[in-house]
Symmetry: C2
Subunit: 117 residues, 2 copies
DNA sequence: TACAAATATACCGAAAACCATATATTAAAG
DNA sequence: CTTTAATATATGGTTTTCGGTATATTTGTA
């Protein structure tokens, strides 16, 4: 994967995309409805930004029945991984990132389908 | 300085700005004409992008006679510094970053005014 | 086959980013 | 005080991005 720095940074320059990536990084795998609930955004909004991340190769997706699970792409270049790490550390405990994690944890009908089929 | 992640990433998402920052990071201090020559861009183009970086607090400037020297802002948050470090390492030896450094080194009338008055 | 849930895409107008060019500002020198 | 070099800003137009809403697709189930 040949990821241009400016392309990575453009992807990280949007709140929704950055919040999703930070969530995925610490949670491993999340489906669209979980990300939608965590961020409090509309479903098409989240879905479209996930599609952008997917087209750039930043995330990978896996369908399991009705749900599509997203994760940080396992082949993400090391330097990009470290950029994400630094960012996650920098925003740790800060809004809106902290409330995203809290919303996720308290999600009522969180799908319990197999995560690693 | 309270630097929002998305603001930093938006700044890094432009070729001219990223190339200037990478140059400033490894050179310490450069004036506008040096950055203009190194990147091969038009002077107003470089100047405007430097102004954006300045307004965001990513660079500091110092006037010395006719020249204005820019540097990575000394109060840049650690995490942002590390993001820049990772990026610089990732692009090391790659175009157009490598040619920028080469262009700078071979600049004919490079101003020799005091850099640390 | 019909229906419902989860997700994806299409469409649209508003806002922002971008670049090239022209012009203004600042400071040194004569 | 005029000129020149370095830098900054303004202007206009094109392109991109963004968010909201409507709609389409996919999959499981009755």
């Amino acid at each position: 994967m040949n990821l241009k720095p400016t392309d990575l940074f453009a992807a990280l320059a949007n709140d929704t995309r950055l919040r999703c990536l930070v969530l995925l990084r610490e949670q491993g795998e999340l489906c669209v409805c979980e990300l939608t609930h965590a961020t409090g955004s509309a479903q098409p909004h989240v879905s479209r930004h996930l599609a952008q991340l997917r087209e750039l190769g930043l995330v990978a997706d896996r369908r399991a029945g009705l749900w599509v699970y997203y994760r940080v792409h396992p082949a993400l270049p090391d330097w990009a991984c470290r950029v994400l790490d630094e960012t996650a550390a920098a925003v740790h405990g800060q809004a809106p990132f902290s409330s995203d994690a809290a919303n996720l944890a308290s999600m009522p009908g969180r799908p319990s389908a197999p995560r690693c089929a």
